[in-house]
């Protein structure tokens, strides 16, 4: 036996201690209650599934997923996202249900990541999927719900960057970029390597107009005026449709009163392959990576045998907790309303007392042995109780 491992946790995992866990539960409850008011129903799926399920959904399996074997030597994967299992579940179990599927989950996800504070290999996500609607109304609903959920979690200040997968795809088609260069361009965009992108573009034979847009690509951030400007510059129909789609979504988001949180970022490219339309990420100060992300994925359900447009998002519960903690807005104290302690022969009375207090909704701890009043005062302190009831 390796003694060194006894006290260690596996790479990328962590304990959630009292107080912290209480704050997390409270936050999850608020988020879940908010999801319900928007008409979303909770579901749960297995923690692990066959590798093939994730491989189909993601168009391949990444190095990030944690794999192991079952007793028949079939490869299993700890879920590396919730969108794929939900798509599988809806396609197989809910295909007869004709309603729009509005589903939510709060679940732990597993991915090999280079861990930092706020980036663990096991982490908790809350998210929704809206399946069966291709219209901008669905995307705007999902955006507005993402913002409302972050607010329900207690965040005030954040920015939602909104982009569209088809914008870049359209530009690449127009420029007739070969597969090898396209892969390199997508990589540079994903890594946000403006220098690398410029070097690739420099080598290609493109019209000056296209070259100018490609060179500006990673700096295409802005408001409504940016979309207008780009509609004047971009010729190909695919990119133009993407821009119009973004404008439609934005106009609906305005009605939800969330436009002030949204800014466009046409370089946004999420590192999951299944997105087909609008994509978004949410950022806030005090956190070096996004706290929420999502988008439209119209072709995934097809791989599970049911052609169905879909859109959704997930938010990182652990990251949001960390942001609130860094803003001193997270109450992780683990305190209680009352300690009930008792002297000689008073245990029956004490039980009656705690029962009565609990009925009033108080959080109550009860001493397990007979104490003196002075001992009881000490007990109250070390048990983090705000008041003491001593029965003598």
């Amino acid at each position: 036996m390796n003694d060194n491992k006894v006290l260690q946790l596996p790479y990328g995992t962590k304990d959630i201690l009292p107080g912290e866990a209480r704050a997390k539960r409270k936050m999850e409850d608020k988020i879940a209650a908010n999801f319900l008011t928007w008409g979303y129903d909770e579901v749960a799926t297995p923690t692990f599934e066959y590798l093939d399920t994730f491989a189909i959904g993601n168009g391949g399996i990444s190095d990030e997923s944690m794999k192991f074997l079952d007793r028949n030597n079939r490869t299993l994967v700890l879920r590396s996202d919730m969108t794929t299992p939900l798509a599988r579940m809806v396609s197989t179990r809910l295909s007869k249900d004709k309603s729009l599927k509005r589903l939510f989950y709060i679940a732990n996800i597993f991915r090999y990541e280079e861990t930092q504070a706020g980036r663990q290999c096991e982490f908790c996500q809350a998210g929704v999927e809206l399946m069966g609607a291709a219209e901008p109304t669905a995307d705007a609903e999902v955006l507005a719900l993402a913002i409302a959920s972050l607010q329900a979690a207690g965040l005030v200040d954040f920015t939602l960057s909104l982009g569209h997968i088809e914008f870049l795809a359209g530009l690449m088609e127009e420029a007739q970029i070969g597969e090898k260069d396209a892969v390199a361009i997508e990589k540079a965009v994903l890594e946000h390597n403006a220098v690398g992108l410029e070097q690739i573009i420099h080598k290609l034979y493109l019209t000056p107009e296209l070259k100018a847009i490609f060179n500006r690509l990673l700096f295409l951030h802005g408001g409504e005026e940016l979309i207008e400007e780009l509609l004047g510059l971009v010729k190909n129909e695919k990119s133009r449709a993407a821009l119009r789609n973004l404008a439609d979504i934005y106009n609906l988001a305005k009605e939800y009163g969330v436009a002030k949180f949204i800014s466009f970022d046409l370089s946004l490219n999420r590192n999951l392959d299944y997105y087909t339309g609008m994509v978004f990420e949410v950022y806030t100060a005090n956190m070096g990576f996004n706290i929420c992300g999502g988008g439209r994925y119209d072709s995934m359900m097809k791989s599970f045998g049911q052609d169905c447009p879909a859109t959704g998002f997930a938010m990182g519960i652990d990251r949001i907790m960390l942001v609130l903690e860094r803003q001193n807005n997270l109450n992780i104290s683990s305190d209680w309303d009352v300690l009930v302690a008792w002297g000689h022969d008073k245990v029956h009375e004490a039980i009656k007392k705690v029962t009565e207090l609990r009925k009033q909704g108080k959080t109550v701890k009860m001493a397990t042995t007979e104490t003196t009043e002075i001992q009881a005062m000490e007990l109250k302190k070390i048990n983090h109780c705000n008041s003491l009831v001593y029965l003598k």
């Binding site: 920015t159 890594e191 946000h192 403006a194 220098v195 800014s263 806030t284 100060a285 070096g288 990576f289």
Partner: protein, 218 residues
């Protein structure tokens, strides 16, 4: 307006970086390499400078402890941090080279398989040889790489070369370029989005200054 924190690397890129940033309005009193102050603030323009060890700089930016920074592409490739690379600043030009002692030169690159390679850039060297499909033993050193083949610690070296003089002095010949590098402006992912207007302007202004310098040189 929030403070913009700029990380500057100690060493050869430092002076030029301070000069360049001053030209586009980002300066503070006493931004010197051996500053006793760890953080130098300009209250007026809301800019903060921190001066870090070269290899640590991308880490400061990745974590958002600094919003932007200036660093060599060689360090970026070696450290492989998740940061945005915004602009090639064109100075601090150098190349990471594979070199061998003159008398040990062989006809083909593939003839060097299964040899020992001394380098400070072990990640870059590993990737380079993996790509070529050449198996080698990488020996990580922290300096004076040229010494390794002389005393028989390694047959090959992978090291940063600016002019090539040091290699020549030690009777080493350059075999292949692993990559070319120069100073880059990098940004934290989230800072880039939250302070976009300011950073976009900074990049534009820097482009103009670099363009001017370029024409002057010609």
């Amino acid at each position: 307006m929030d403070y913009l924190t700029i990380a500057l690397p100690k060493g050869k890129l430092f002076a030029k970086s301070v000069e360049l940033l001053a030209k586009v309005g980002y300066s503070a009193e006493n931004v010197v390499e051996d500053s006793r102050k760890l953080v130098i603030t300009n209250e007026e323009t809301k800019v903060r400078f921190i001066i870090t060890k070269t290899v640590d700089l991308p880490t400061y930016v990745e974590y958002g402890a600094a919003d932007i920074g200036i660093i060599g592409k060689d360090v970026l490739l070696e450290e492989d941090k998740d940061v945005y690379e915004l602009l090639d600043l064109k100075y601090g030009k150098c190349r990471l080279m594979l070199a061998v002692p003159e008398h040990k030169r062989r006809p083909n690159l593939t003839d060097y398989a299964h040899l020992r390679v001394a380098t400070k850039y072990h990640n870059s060297a590993r990737k380079y040889f993996d790509k070529l499909g050449i198996q080698t033993e990488i020996i990580k050193l922290n300096g004076s790489i040229e010494l390794a083949p002389i005393v028989g610690l390694s047959e090959l070296i992978v090291d940063i070369v600016e002019t090539g003089t040091t290699l020549k002095e030690n009777k080493l010949v350059e075999l292949d370029v692993v990559y070319h590098a120069s100073a880059r402006l990098i940004a934290n992912k989230v800072s880039f989005k939250l302070q976009f207007e300011r950073l976009n302007k900074l990049v534009k202004d820097l482009r103009v200054v670099l363009e001017e310098e370029n024409t002057k040189c010609k």
